[in-house]
Every structure is written in structure tokens, then in C-alpha cells.
């Protein structure tokens, strides 16, 4: 009887686990290495969940998928644009970008993604250099 209850609990637990699939427009920023000082250069890696439809692809029923892609990326470091990019639909699905930045002082790091319809997706991360 006890084992049955344990089985039941485990099953329910598995069913109620949070869904790992991310919604469209969710973005992630990562910084490497994790510990850095002022004057060091860090690698910033960012991705966004987005379907990159080029306008040539078709769905399962044979209908042409309209273009839908990330068009512009702006990188802010302490309220100033450091890097800006103009992208085209031929970046791979869930586009990933990586660049290097020199740490000057502590502050907010913000990445703004804009798609071809003008929708904006913002994600920010704090930069805390160790002393």
C-alpha cells in the first residue's frame, strides 16, 4: 500500500513539473567568465526564442509562411548604445549572438530585440565587477 502511495506521489510530481518550453520572445543573457574585475573583457552571449521565417518556407499544409524575424538588436551599457546590429532572416532559428565588452564600471546591461513588425523584447542583466 505504501509503495502504491509513493508511486502515485511521484507520478503527480512528474505531471506537475513546470513546462520547460519557452514562449516566443523570451530571451536569455549569459556572461562569461562569471567573476571579473574593472578593465576585464567579458563575453556576452544572448539568445531569443523566435521563429526565423524567411518567406520561402512552407508549413505542413503547403501554405507559405510570412516573414517573421528579428530585424534589429541594440545593446545598452549604462544608458548608452554600445553595439547595434541589423539582422536578416537567415540567422538560425532562435537567434544567438555573442560579443565582447570591456567592463568600465558597475551598471545595468540591456539588450533590446526588435522584430520586423516593430515589436520589442527587452532583457537586462546587472554587471557587478568584483574588487
Amino acid at each position: 500500500m505504501k509503495s502504491l502511495i509513493v508511486c502515485f506521489v511521484v507520478l503527480m510530481g512528474l505531471l506537475t513539473l513546470p513546462d520547460k518550453t519557452r514562449a516566443i520572445g523570451e530571451s536569455v543573457i549569459g556572461i562569461k567568465p562569471k567573476k571579473y574585475k574593472v578593465g576585464d573583457s567579458i563575453r556576452v552571449r544572448a539568445t531569443i526564442i523566435y521563429p526565423q521565417h524567411t518567406g520561402f518556407g512552407k508549413d505542413k499544409k503547403g501554405r507559405i509562411l510570412p516573414t517573421l524575424f528579428i530585424k534589429k538588436v541594440q545593446v545598452y551599457y549604462i544608458d548608452k548604445v554600445i553595439i547595434s546590429m541589423e539582422l536578416t532572416p537567415y540567422l538560425s532559428q532562435n537567434p544567438f549572438i555573442e560579443f565582447k565588452v570591456k567592463v568600465t564600471k558597475a551598471g545595468l546591461f540591456k539588450i533590446v530585440w526588435t522584430d520586423n513588425h516593430g515589436r520589442k523584447f527587452v532583457k537586462s542583466i546587472k554587471i557587478k565587477p568584483t574588487r
Binding site: 573583457s41 526565423q52 521565417h53 524567411t54 520561402f56 518556407g57 551599457y77 548608452k80 548604445v81 554600445i82 553595439i83 547595434s84 546590429m85 541589423e86 539582422l87 536578416t88 532572416p89 537567415y90 540567422l91 538560425s92 532559428q93 537567434p95 544567438f96 549572438i97 555573442e98 560579443f99 565582447k100 565588452v101 570591456k102 568600465t104
Partner: protein, 174 residues
């Protein structure tokens, strides 16, 4: 060793004896005429019209000249796989060696994939505050093609690098 002039004369005599000699000689003469610039038909027509006898530069040659003067190889490091199994995700990495000061920095990096329906892939604008001219992404390839990376400097010079990427399975959307 026989005299070369004599040997040529003998060769010509032999040619004259044969039936095909006339055709061959005429061919040689026509080729020689076409090679020599003074015998070109285009120049004669130009002279008749009393126009300036300056050879008109074709667009291709002038473009080649411009490329040689303006675009230089070097300074740009391009990393991409030689063979990519999946054309949907191909990592491409570009790095430009530059001090990134206010006087001398990289303004823009442009990546082009030749055989894609939209060849221009990305334009990345840098500022001196960014510290490094480095960029990497994952790219969709329609089929096997050359990747080109151009770096535009703040003083207007352009450096470039290229690499061939063989794709065994092109991406579905391309």
C-alpha cells in the same frame, strides 16, 4: 644544329605543299591580327568619328581596380567549419584586430553568404566604448557557399576575409 630561320622556311614550304596550308596560314594571320591592338575594329570606328582616342574602361576592370585599392585582406579573422552537416545551424565567428580607441576603431562588420536568397546576413555597428570588435552567431545556409566578412574602419579602409563552407544538407526554409 640547323639555322632556325632556315628551319622555319622549310616548315612553311612544307605547309604550302599541303592542301590545308592556306586555311592554317589564314587562321594564324587572323589570330595575330586580332591580338594586335592597332588592328582592332573598335579603334578604327572611334577614329572616324573624330572622338578622343581614349580606351573606354569596362565596368568590370574598373571595379577590380577599386577592389584592389580599397579592400585589403588581413586583420579580419573568420572562423567557420569546413564541412557543416546541418545547414540550419552553422556557427560563424568574426574577430578584427584593432585598438578600439576614439581615433582608430572598427565602425562596422558585414557578413555575406553568397548563395543564400538574401546574401547580406548581418551588419554590426561598433563604437569605441564596446572595447572589442568581435561577433559570432549561428547561420542558416541554403547550400554550399562562400562566407565573406568585411570590416569597415573609422578611417574608411576596408579589410576582408573569406572562407568556403561545404553544406551537406541545406536548411529547409532556404
Amino acid at each position: 644544329m640547323s639555322n632556325p630561320q632556315k628551319s622555319i622556311k622549310g616548315f612553311l614550304n612544307k605547309l604550302a605543299k599541303t592542301k590545308t596550308s592556306i586555311l592554317g596560314l589564314s587562321l594564324i594571320i587572323s589570330v595575330l591580327l586580332s591580338i594586335h591592338p592597332s588592328n582592332g575594329i573598335s579603334k578604327r570606328t572611334v577614329n572616324r568619328g573624330k572622338a578622343k582616342t581614349v580606351k573606354p574602361e569596362t565596368t568590370k576592370s574598373s571595379m577590380d581596380k577599386l577592389r584592389k585599392e580599397a579592400i585589403k585582406s588581413g586583420r579580419v579573422k573568420l572562423r567557420a567549419p569546413i564541412i557543416a552537416e546541418n545547414g540550419a545551424i552553422v556557427p560563424v565567428q568574426v574577430q578584427v584586430s584593432s585598438p578600439m580607441t576614439k581615433k582608430d576603431y572598427v565602425k562596422m562588420i558585414v557578413i555575406i553568404i553568397e548563395k543564400n536568397p538574401v546574401p547580406l546576413l548581418v551588419k554590426v555597428h561598433f563604437t569605441p566604448e564596446s572595447g572589442h570588435a568581435y561577433f559570432s552567431t549561428r547561420v542558416q545556409f541554403a547550400k554550399t557557399s562562400i562566407v565573406r566578412a568585411y570590416a569597415v574602419m573609422s578611417d574608411g579602409k576596408v579589410y576582408y576575409n573569406s572562407k568556403l563552407v561545404k553544406v551537406s544538407h541545406g536548411c529547409v526554409q532556404g
